[in-house]
Symmetry: C2
Subunit: 249 residues, 2 copies
Amino acid sequence: MPAIECLETPPAAATPKPEAERLCKLLAHIPLLDGFDPAELVRFARGVREQNVDKGTVLFHRGDPCHGFHLVLSGQIKLAFTSSEGQEKVIEIIRPGQSFGEAVMFMEKPYVVMAQALTDCKLLHIAKNVVFEEMDRDPSFCRRIIAGLSHRLHHLIADVETYSLRSGRERIVGYLLREEEISGEPGARGRVSVRLPTSKGTIASRLNLTQEHFSRILHELAEAGLIGVEGRTIHILDIEKLRTAQMQY
Amino acid sequence: MPAIECLETPPAAATPKPEAERLCKLLAHIPLLDGFDPAELVRFARGVREQNVDKGTVLFHRGDPCHGFHLVLSGQIKLAFTSSEGQEKVIEIIRPGQSFGEAVMFMEKPYVVMAQALTDCKLLHIAKNVVFEEMDRDPSFCRRIIAGLSHRLHHLIADVETYSLRSGRERIVGYLLREEEISGEPGARGRVSVRLPTSKGTIASRLNLTQEHFSRILHELAEAGLIGVEGRTIHILDIEKLRTAQMQY
DNA sequence: GGCGCGAGTTAACCAGAATCAAGGTCCAAG
DNA sequence: CTTGGACCTTGATTCTGGTTAACTCGCGCC
């Protein structure tokens, strides 16, 4: 597990133009900047840094100061906290197109969680000063940030609900159904397959379960004829049945 | 438990002036509007409605549309969700000076939780249109909203951490210490007392415990000589010792 | 090939917390 | 004063999920 390190893109001091252009192209795709005109993007690009990190790299620990936020271009990042006894709880698995660290940035406080690459990743780091400048300049940009934070909050409340009101079995079934929803076709019926985005241990922690318990429940669901397990691929044998099972338990 | 009902302040159509003035005075104290000049407050007051609700009143249910946010002037409101089986989980107990419902307002989605008055309450309801107008007009107002949402998010993450990494005992000890911190003198030592803001059952739910389990743990803590229980008043016999107990468990 | 390693599985056992079922206490209304 | 209800406590029992530990499987590497 390598220590924190920022593999910057090659300096490119000699030819800054194409490098900046490439960055702008990347920026144009991120939801927060959707519809920004080129001039705005260039302004923004000043504070943006591309990072390539290896699997296992810790981007920041709890307590580290925050200088901006991150956006994942490819790969996966896990956000987690570790208790004093060393056990870890994964709060979120960040996937391409998603960003993290905004809330802490706006609070001017150190990180409360740690972030670690689950795979080799390509990231953008957006410095907070360009965000703050843009906020002063453009009220609609503020609106987007507010919308983003609200959305995040909403999501987290749903997580709290899941953790406190649902059993392990229900959480797993819910997870599988959601996962199918984002990766599969919209109106899927009957037999569909879901590929787990990362190791079972990590997903178990995300769902507030131990790896062992997760494994057991998958086994139970398989025995009940609801799913088939094949490594990281879960075959949902009858998605309608799984949905109704979700209701009952 | 009375159904939802909005006890508006008397119409005051004949003398709108003093009524508006009184509202402005209330508004001037809320953190979000701190430092606003009178003209801004008046503009804001158009969308503000005072509400007096009785204990037990449900302000909104999950699924209700959201037309603005609420601020508590006096009394307590509980935010909770109810599972399909009817069991309830309290997410937050809102106290005077605090507000709720902003995130949902910015998302233009229905409420995901329900809000109920734990005591007779005085509230302000701020309509979303005046908030949105002010956001377009004043970037610094946006900043405050962003700061508020970030803070809320931060808090919720701390809750998730507590729920998933700490035992019931630890959660209760942590709660008592926090409660002491906000109600007691800053540098308290030795013996101090904390008054629970509401019923033990509600607090138990807030901490993700059953009433029974909560009661038992209080008993255990009392037996261990850490606290004394006298109805809703908890005497912390030695706050230093409780703090170190918090570390160990 | 054999070694080591990480991920996953399985089973036996255990603990923390929920559930169920009585009571107890206090207080306000009849 | 006594009746009922809200709130709380207590004990017995059950259950969910965590802990520990052994074992398997696949894979990269010497």
